[in-house]
Amino acid sequence: MAYTGKDVPAQHSPALVAGAGLYTGDVKLDRMTHAHVVRSPFAAARILSIDASAALELPGVVAVVTGDDLRAQGYAMPVEGFGEGVKPKPFDLFPLAVDRVRFAGEGVAAVIAEDPYTAKQAALLVDVEYEDTDPVVDAERALAPDSPLVEPDWGSNVLFEARMTSGNAAQIIASAAHTVGGELHHHRYTGAAMEPRAYVADYDPYRRTLSFWASTQCPHPMRTLLGQTLHLPENDIRVIQPNVGGAFGLKIPYFQEEALIAALSVVCGRPVRWIAERREDLLSGGHAREGHFRWQAAFEPDGHVTALQVRYVADVGAPSALAGWGQCYVTGFALPTCYKIRDTDVEVIAVTTNKCAWNAYRGFGKESSSWLMDRVMDAVARETGLDRTAVRLRNFIQPEEFPYPQNGGAIIDSGNYPKALKRVLEMIDYANFPALQAAARAEGRYVGLGLGQELTPEGCSIAGTARFNGWDGATVRIGPSGEVTVLTGVTSPGTGNETALAQIAADRLGIELKYVKVIQGDTSICPYGLGNFSSRGVIMGGSAVHIAAGELREKLFKVAGNMLEVSPGDLECEDGRIMLKGAPFRYVDTKDVVTKIYSDCHGAAACGVEPGLEATRYFRHDNVYHQPETQGRYSAYPSWANQATALIAEIDPDTGVIKILRYCAVHDSGKIINPMTAEGNVHGGTAQGIGGALFEQLVYDDYGQLTTTTFMDYTLPTAMEIPHIELEHQETLSPFSPLGAKGVGESGITSPLGALCGAVEDALREFDVRIDRLPLSPERVWRAIQAQGDRA
C-alpha cells in the first residue's frame, strides 16, 4: 500500500488556505434576486395578519411571500422519522410559518429584492400582527398536565418516547446492597460553523429545471426532498455543493429556509440568493444537546456495575423536518457504551418546546451517553474507594468479546478499550500524578486529572429514510491518458475526505496520487449517494471507491496478463506499473494497458474485455440490522470508533477559571487512511468538546427569547483556550468494512465533557465538589467551591 496510512495534505487545502475557495456566497447569476426572511419576535403566537404593502412600495422589492402563499401551492415539508417506531407525532410544516409561530426566529414571510440591502430594509416594513400565547420553555414543566402545548393537536408536549430495557435493572437496583445515583444536565449549544447557511436557487420556468447551490452536507437527499416539496421530478433538479465552511451535522437537510429559497425561485421565476446572518443562524440554524438525566446504578464492592437505570428528558425544541431530535434516541441506544452492564433500563422522552429545533451536531447524542457513563464510573469509584481507572477496566467489554451485542441492539464491531486506556495513562504518567498533584497543592495550586472514555457509533443507517442509510456509491473512471477520476456520493465539509478517497483509489490501481481527481457534491454528475454525516466519508464512500477501483483493477490485470502472458491472479500494481508478483522486472506500464483498452479493443490483449474503463459500484455496510423479526435486533450503527482521554487541569479556586495543562488521547477509528487529516478531525472535535464543556451556551429566557444571538454572547473558544493535544492512534480494524475503517468525523468531541468534570472534582477534592451541570463557567465552578466552603 503506497498511500494508505500516510500523511497526505488535503487536496483542497491550498485553495482554501489561499482564500480561493468557492462558496455558495460566491455564486453570482444574471438577474439574481436576494431574499430576506421576516422572523417572528415571539416564541409562540398566532399570526393574525401580514401586511406587506409598505414593503412592496420600496423601490427594488420584487415580491413578498408568506406561508399562506406557499401552502396554497402545496409546498409542504416532508417530515421523516428515525426508523421503525421512532417517529414524531404528526404535524404540518411549511417553508414559512402558517397560522402560528413555534419559536422566536421562525420565518413568517420572505422578501425578494434586487439587492440584499433593500431586501433587509423591506423586511422591516412587513407588518405582521401577532397574538402571542404562553410559550413552552422548560422541558420538565412542559410535561405537566396543565402546560401550554406547542402542538395543540398532540394533547401533550411529548414528541417521541422510547424505553430500552435489557434484563431487570429496576429490580436489581431496588434490592442491591450498593447503589449510587445522580442527575446530570446538559445545556443547549451548537456547532457555529464559520460559514452560515447559504443557498442560491435558480428555477428556469421554460425548461422547468431547478439548480440549487447549497452549503449542505447532503446534495442528493436535498434533491429528493426539494422534489417532494416542489412537486418536481428529481431529474429536473440539480443540487451543487460548492466549498462548505464548516457543517458539523448542522447542514444536514431539511431546513425550512432550504425549501423556502427554492420555492421563492419557482414563484418569481428568477434566481434567488440567501445568506444567513450570524444572528439568524444562532436563532434558527439548529441547536443541540439540551437534556436532563436522572440515573441510578447498582454496583459491587469490586467496582462491577450490575445495573443501570436512566431517565433522559430532552428538550428538542420545536417540531421540524430536521433529524436533530433523533439524537436523544441515539443517546439511549448507545448506552451503556464501552461497558458490560447486563441489566439496563433506559427511558428517553423527547419534549417539544418553543425553541429552535435541534439539528444534528457532531456527536449526535452519543457524546451524552459517554459523558453519562464517565460520571457513573467516577461515582462508583468514589463510592467504592477504588481508582477511577480500575472501575473502568473492571467494566469494559473485553477485546476478545467483539463483535459484542450491546444492550440497545447494536453489534459493536471491534475495539480494545483496556489497551487504549492503559496507553493514555502511560502518556500522561498517571502513576506519578498523585505526586505531581501533591506538589502543586503544597504550592497552593489545585490540579486534577480527569478521564474521558468515548464511544462514537458511526455510519448511521436508519430504515426507511431518504437521508440516513448505510450505503454509498462511487464511480471510478480511467481516461485514455491514464488519469483517474473518482466521483462519489459522499461529500466533504472541508475535512479532507476527498484526499482519503484519492489515496484509496491510487493504492487500488497502483497509480500515483497526482493522477487521481475526486469530484463530489454535484447531483448531475456524481452517483446517487447520501453525502456526509456520521463519519461515513471513508466508511461508506471509501469502501465504494475501493470496490469500484477493484473492478477496474481486475480488468487492467486481465489485459496486462495477456500482454505479459501470465495469469492475472499473479499480478500486482504499484507506481504506475502492473507487475508479476515476486518478479517486478516483468511489468507493463499501467498507461500502456489503458491505451490497449481504449485504442486497441479488437486486438489480442484487450478483445476479451468490455471496452471502457469505468465502474460504478455501491457499498452496503453489513453490520446494520433492519429486520428484527428475523435478525432479532434493530441497529442503525455499524461502526464504533472510540477514544480514551486523560487530561490534567488546574483550577483557580479564587475565580473558578479552568486551565487545561495537558491533554492526552488514544484514538481508535480502525484503519487510518490519512493520519494528518484524521488528526485534524480529532483536533477539531476536541476543540468543540472543550467549547461545549467550558464556554458555549445558548440561553433562552422565560419568554422563549434567545439571549445569545451574537458571538459576543455565545462564547466560542479560541486557539488560546485549546491545549496542545497529544494524540496517538490505535488501529483495531473493523471486520465489517473492506478497509477496516470506523470513521473519524465525530471523534474527540465527547471526551472533554467527562474528563473536565472529573478533573475539576479531582482538583477540588478537599471541597468535595460535585459537577452535574455544564458548562463549567468560572462562576459555576466558583459557586461550587463557595457552597462547600459555606457548608464546612
Binding site: Q121, L124, F695, M712, T718, W782
Partner: protein, 288 residues
C-alpha cells in the same frame, strides 16, 4: 449587513467634523474604528440618519508630550497605542491595556476615542484611563471643555458628550519614574469582553497608590489606597484593599458571564492581584 440608508460624511478636517456634528446633532453617529457601531447597526440597534467618519481626519492620531502629561489623539488605534514609544515610556499601563483589547483585527481598527465614547463598562480603556487620572478634551464648534473621568463617564454606555461634541484628545499624566503598574482582566476567552478588570499603579514610596476597577458597575471605580499600603503591601493591607473593592462593587452588573455576586467577589480578587503585581513590579524597579 446594514439595512436602511444614511448619509455618509468623511470630513477632512476637525472643524469640518465639528460643523457636521453641529448640523446633524443626535441624528448622526460618529464613526471611528467601527468596532461597536458597525455590529450595532448590523443588528438594527442603531439606525442613524447620518454617519460622520473620522477616518479621513488628519492630526487626531498622534501623541504629544506636554511636559507632565501625554496628549493622545482620539483616533489612535489600539495596536499603535500599545507599542508607541512615548506611551510605553510614560503610560505603560495604558499600553498594556491596549494590547489586551479584543483580537488582532479589533486592535488594528478600534480607537482610543471610540472605545471611551462608547463607554462599555468592561472596556479596558475605561478602567485604565480612570486609574491613570486621565482628562478628556471634548470639542464642539466654537467651544471646548476638559473633563476628568468622574465627569466624563456618566453611566452604562453614557458619557458627558453632547450630540454636537467630539472627544478629540485624552490626556494621561506621566507615570512617576520607577512606578509599578499592572493591568489585569478576567475574560472567558481570549478577545472577549472582560468580566471584571483591575488596573493598579504605585509610585515609588507607595504614594500615590491607586487601584481602578472596571466591569463591576456602570462606571469605573478608582480606589486611592495610599493610606492602606503606605507601610508596604502586607497581607492586612491587601485584605483591606480587597474589602474596599468588594464594597465598591455593591451594584455590580449581572449578565451571562457573571452574576453581580460573582463580579463583586472578583472585584476583590482582581483588585488584590493587580495591586500585588504592581507592587512586585515596583520592587523590581518599575518603569515600562
Amino acid at each position: 449587513m446594514i439595512a436602511g440608508e444614511f448619509e455618509f460624511f468623511a470630513p477632512p478636517t476637525l472643524p469640518d467634523a465639528l460643523r457636521l456634528l453641529q448640523e446633524h446633532g443626535s441624528a448622526c453617529k460618529v464613526l471611528a474604528g467601527g468596532m461597536t457601531l458597525l455590529p450595532v447597526m448590523t443588528l438594527g440597534l442603531a439606525q442613524p440618519r447620518a454617519i460622520v467618519s473620522l477616518n479621513h481626519l488628519q492630526g487626531l492620531a498622534g501623541v504629544e508630550d506636554v511636559g507632565p502629561a501625554l496628549r493622545i489623539g482620539a483616533m489612535m488605534r489600539h495596536a499603535t497605542l500599545g507599542k508607541h514609544p512615548l506611551v510605553l515610556q510614560h503610560a505603560p499601563l495604558l499600553a498594556a491595556a491596549a494590547r489586551g483589547i479584543g483580537d488582532v483585527q479589533v486592535r488594528h481598527r478600534g480607537t482610543l476615542g471610540g472605545s471611551l465614547a462608547h463607554a462599555e463598562p468592561a472596556a479596558d480603556y475605561l478602567c485604565a484611563t480612570a486609574t491613570l487620572g486621565a482628562r478628556f478634551l471634548l470639542q464642539k464648534q466654537g467651544g471646548e471643555r476638559w473633563l476628568d473621568a468622574a465627569g466624563f463617564f456618566i453611566d452604562v454606555m453614557t458619557t458627558a458628550l453632547e450630540p454636537d461634541e467630539l472627544l478629540t484628545t485624552v490626556e494621561i499624566p506621566k507615570q512617576a519614574a520607577g512606578a509599578g503598574y499592572s493591568h489585569q482582566s478576567l475574560r472567558r476567552v481570549e478577545g472577549a469582553f472582560p468580566i471584571v478588570l483591575a488596573s493598579a499603579q504605585i509610585a515609588p514610596g507607595y504614594a500615590p497608590a491607586r487601584v481602578g476597577l472596571g466591569g463591576i458597575g456602570p462606571r469605573p471605580v478608582v480606589l486611592e489606597v495610599d493610606d492602606v499600603v503606605k507601610g508596604g503591601l502586607t497581607p492586612a493591607a491587601l485584605e483591606a484593599v480587597g474589602a474596599r473593592a468588594f464594597d465598591a462593587a455593591q451594584q455590580a452588573l449581572s449578565d451571562l458571564n457573571g452574576s453581580g455576586d460573582y463580579r463583586r467577589a472578583m472585584a476583590r480578587v482582581y483588585a488584590c492581584r493587580a495591586l500585588e503585581a504592581a507592587a512586585a513590579h515596583l520592587q523590581a524597579g518599575g518603569g515600562r
